[in-house]
């Protein structure tokens, strides 16, 4: 059921396609400070501003805080990636 929503665009996929496909899915956002935020992506704009739900804050791999909603300013975002099924470190 999780893979049905994504469109089959052959072998090539633009960054815009990736960003559209991860909305509503669990993501990991890494800031320049090294802190990780994991949650459900609700909104993402051209400045890399990120809004998430059910957000967990990990510092050095340790769960520090949880937030119902969180908004991360884009200038601090190092990268954003999807999680594969379970929330585990690495790819």
């Amino acid at each position: 059921m999780s893979g049905v929503g994504e469109k089959a665009s052959g072998t090539t996929k633009t960054p815009a396609d990736f960003l559209k496909s991860i909305r509503g899915k669990p993501v990991v956002v890494k800031l320049n400070s090294g802190v990780d935020y994991r949650g459900i992506l609700t909104c993402l704009d051209g400045y890399m501003n990120i809004a998430m739900e059910q957000t967990e804050e990990y510092v050095n791999g340790q769960l520090k805080n949880t937030y119902g909603d969180a908004f991360v300013r884009g200038n601090n975002v190092l990268y954003i990636s999807t999680t594969k099924g379970t929330l585990s470190d690495g790819a």
Binding site: Y47, N65, Y67, D69, F71, V72, R73, N75, N76
Partner: protein
């Protein structure tokens, strides 16, 4: 303008206790939330107060001390969130992270405990007495963050091409082959008008010289005259 959290005590003189906004630069009041307590970093909570959200910054003003208030630009708020976890904080609140300028000189914590240095505060919690307003505050914060994108520091380089028209070919005079080739260039120069009058005179001279050899040249002359007039 100083980045990060700072004192803000500028209120209007009409006695309403509202903050003075920078209206000449387009600052607008977006939202007002009464009965909001504020906690700076790990310090004790301060209440009661009123939260004013403008299109540029966040302002908290104390309701009991007219000389107490704080402000922080949305440009400096790197994260805001709705925090309901009692383990993280005793009351549901809006949690914010504030960017600070790295200053390695002030590393002694003992000094900071005595004197409040607002520019070093990295966290701020806003605790409304009405916790049902948390979602509204979160949404307003999102809107205002969108209104304050990071200023662009680098100007884009313009890589425009300069089109160069070469007129050297029009000056070349040679044998019959060159003359014939130059005749084919005449329509281009006439159509484009990229060359001045001098450019048009030379092909005419060439055509007149070879008038008796090429019968088609007469037609070219007529076409040129038609377009000129």
């Amino acid at each position: 303008m100083v980045a990060g959290l700072r004192d803000f005590t500028l209120r209007t003189e009409d006695g309403s206790g509202k903050p003075v906004l920078d209206e000449s630069n387009g600052e607008e009041l977006m939202h007002v939330q009464t009965s909001v307590a504020v906690a700076l970093g790990n310090r004790p909570i301060e209440s009661p107060g009123t939260l004013y959200i403008t299109s540029r910054k966040l302002i908290w003003l104390s309701d009991v001390d007219m000389a107490k208030g704080y402000a922080v630009d949305f440009l400096s708020i790197s994260l805001h969130a709705v925090s309901r976890d009692p383990e993280a904080y005793s009351s549901p609140c809006i949690y914010t992270q504030i960017e600070v300028e790295e200053d390695e000189d002030d590393e002694s914590d003992s000094e900071s405990t005595e004197v409040l240095d607002l520019s070093k505060i990295r966290e701020m919690r806003l605790v409304p007495s009405d916790s049902t307003q948390l979602e509204t505050l979160f949404d307003v914060f999102c809107e205002c963050a969108e209104l304050n994108p990071e200023p662009v520091q680098e100007e884009e380089e313009e890589s425009g091409h300069n089109w160069v028209f070469s007129a050297d070919q029009m000056d070349v005079r040679g044998g019959d082959d060159d003359a014939e080739w130059q005749i084919s260039q005449s329509p281009t120069s006439v159509i484009g008008h990229s060359n001045g009058d001098e450019g048009l005179n030379q092909p005419m001279l060439e055509l007149q010289i070879n008038d008796q050899r090429f019968e088609d040249a007469e037609e070219m002359v007529h076409e040129s005259e038609t377009k000129d007039h």
